[in-house]
């Protein structure tokens, strides 16, 4: 069997957002949240993300978007400081900008 995952690079803006939403919904599915996930959903304020959840999300998106060298540092650090929160839409935009 082939032990490594296939890498896909066929995304556009709307499908990027849909994929990000699907990935985050998959991450939070066992958290007993009533919050639907859309572009305006805030990771910390709405979903209760902690640092470990951001790391898991980064790895999941890396796998989903097939970007082995994608760095979430650009998204999480602005002007030398860690950002307080991120929306799902901001993540999709950042991914689009870098594809």
């Amino acid at each position: 069997m082939q032990a490594q995952e296939e890498i896909s690079d066929t995304y556009n803006s709307s499908s990027t957002l849909a994929s990000v939403i699907a990935t985050i919904e998959s991450i939070v599915q066992d958290w007993d949240l009533d919050q639907p996930v859309d572009a305006s959903t805030r990771l910390v304020a709405d979903l209760g993300f902690e640092s470990i959840d951001l790391i898991q999300m980064a790895a999941a998106l890396e796998q989903e978007f097939g970007r082995p060298n994608f760095s979430f540092a650009d998204l999480l650090i602005v002007d030398g400081r860690y950002v307080d929160d991120l929306t799902v839409g901001q993540i999709a935009e950042a991914l689009d900008a870098r594809i």
């Binding site: 890498i7 066992d30 790895a59 082995p68 760095s71």
Partner: protein, 533 residues
């Protein structure tokens, strides 16, 4: 070939195990089944990776390669962003070489792997894999195949929160605890092991894989905090009543662990081979060494200014170096690393040492590190290893430039507190380079000469037990003394093609293997029968 059962025990050492497998006055034999395996089978000390730390050591143990090849050096990896550092957890995508699970799977063996670190996100295997060191919130995504989580959830008494890794709780390792906190610490870890055992028991009984592997890590977590009631050298002069109570609680943990191992061996069947290995050993740490404080006093680094904000307070209390990155030349990134990173200014204006001055700078730094003296006047840092000497390989440049060994084998502190070297009020447990290896079953010898093995010998041994060839690029070997002559005569050790390149690892670009080349290798392996269609 016989079914192969592999039990990983985090941080076990013969210093302690020899006590747990013999009759102790008033305590009996804590681990009678492991005693039987040792008495009737093979056992030897197992030398860990150059820095005996859980992530690099387990990854070496299940890849047969040293960290310079596999690319895992610490729990975290970092990016130097010139004016700041970005820290994140290392994970499976940082591993640059093929795992035992993949090697066995692609040759048609059915595999179950439970609780090994750095396996997240999980790779597909011919069987089941549950990644270790994962929060309950991410368990479902960190196991394979699809549907496994629901299957495990159906096990009576299953609790994701009890089974999973609690990052907040485990971050307390190394802190001084009261007697009540220590007793609670032991009590917290027992149900967690029970959960892993229940999952292991179910998957072993139902799936009957060729290779079954489970890692129990409560050993390490307990020993870090309660080593003062376990180390025979420390208790020989007696214990307080409170210490005796604590010890009895901990021995209860080991008794139960022995029952888990016995039950899994029973389920594997009388013809199975049983192997037990640890990623490193354990010993006593007697002092705190604040390495960045020392480097700061010598002018190698500058501390970040705490502006009083919640973020600054959080950063200062975290187990990551909190520094002024515009003025820092060399620093220790994390306490677990025992590493020193030298920043090289690859562009004008960037902070760091000019490339042409690197060698001289490093030589002076080594001299300064070895010059550190404790309050007793003794040398505190007994070894300084250069990365090219201990981590050769394609991933070497991800390693710290230097790795230090302290005289008590302790981990350093990265906090800005004085003094640089201070005695601990309560002795703590820390990692020792020498762990354990035990083998038992058909064809396994009863050699007790305790000749030192290396951690990279474990993967070839397990592959040999499965009847599979040892890849040419492995660094370890099947030890002559481990199996009987009859076993080797009937089943000579075979050597096969190298492991498959891992193209989706973060550092894979440096391997220089293109998709086309990889496809060609796969085709060749398939033709040779090393790959299932």
């Amino acid at each position: 070939m016989a079914r192969t059962l592999f039990i990983g025990l985090d941080g076990v050492t013969f210093t302690l195990l020899d006590e747990l497998v013999r009759e102790l006055p008033g305590e009996g034999v804590a681990m009678p089944f492991v005693a039987k395996l040792m008495r009737e089978g093979f056992h030897a000390p197992l030398r860990s990776t150059a820095h005996p730390l859980t992530p690099p050591a387990w990854v070496s143990l299940i890849t047969g390669r040293n960290p310079g090849h596999h690319g895992i050096f610490d729990f975290v990896r970092s990016e130097d962003r010139i004016t700041d550092f970005y820290w994140t957890l290392s994970d499976r995508l940082d591993i640059r070489v093929e795992s035992l699970w993949s090697i066995a799977s692609r040759q048609g063996k059915r595999v179950v792997s439970l609780n090994f670190p750095m396996m997240s996100p999980p790779e597909p295997v011919n069987g089941c894999l549950v990644s270790g060191f994962v929060s309950w919130k991410h368990l479902r995504r960190n196991m394979t195949p699809d549907g496994l989580y629901d299957r495990i959830k159906a096990i009576p008494g299953f609790s994701a929160k009890e089974l999973a890794w609690d990052f907040q709780r485990e971050s307390q390792i190394g802190e001084e605890m009261t007697q009540a906190e220590l007793e609670a610490w032991v009590d917290h870890h027992r149900p967690r092991e029970e959960q892993w055992f229940r999952v292991a028991e179910t998957l072993l009984a139902e799936d009957k894989p060729d290779l079954f592997a489970v890692m129990f890590d409560g050993t390490d977590k307990l020993q870090h905090q309660v080593w003062h009631v376990l180390d025979p050298r420390l208790i020989k002069n007696g214990m307080t009543d409170a210490e005796k109570r604590l010890r009895e609680r901990v021995l209860g943990y080991y008794r139960r662990l022995d029952e888990y191992i016995a039950r899994l061996a029973e389920l594997a069947g009388p013809d199975a081979r049983v192997f037990i290995a640890s990623d490193h050993g354990f010993t006593a740490s007697t002092e705190v060494v604040r390495i960045n404080r020392y480097l700061g006093e010598l002018g190698y680094l500058a501390w970040a200014e705490n502006d009083g904000s919640a973020t600054a307070k959080r950063r200062e209390d975290a187990n990551f170096a909190f520094l002024d990155w515009t003025k820092t030349l060399a620093f220790c990134p994390t306490p677990s690393s025992n590493g020193i990173v030298i920043r090289v200014a690859n562009e004008p204006g960037h902070p760091g040492v000019p490339p042409e001055q690197y060698e001289a700078f490093r030589a002076k730094l080594i001299e300064d590190l070895l010059a550190l003296r404790g309050p007793d006047g003794g040398q505190v840092i007994t070894g300084v290893m250069k990365r090219e000497d201990v981590f050769p390989g394609a991933a070497m440049h991800a390693a710290p430039d230097l790795t230090v060994t302290l005289r008590d084998h302790g981990f350093v502190s990265v906090r800005n507190r004085a003094p640089v070297v201070e005695s601990r009020r309560i002795i703590a447990g820390t990692h020792h380079p020498d762990g354990i290896f035990i083998g038992y079953g058909p064809g396994v010898s009863n050699d007790h000469s305790r000749k030192l093995m290396n951690i990279v010998d474990v993967t070839p041994t397990l592959l040999y037990s499965l009847g599979l060839p040892v890849p040419q690029d492995f660094e370890g070997r099947v030890r002559d003394q481990m199996f009987t002559d009859e076993m080797f005569d009937e089943n000579p050790v075979l050597f096969g093609p190298p492991t498959l390149p891992v193209t989706n690892a973060r550092g894979a670009a440096s391997s220089g293997v293109s998709e086309a080349e990889r496809a060609k290798i796969l085709e060749q392996l398939r033709a040779l029968g090393y790959l299932e269609n």
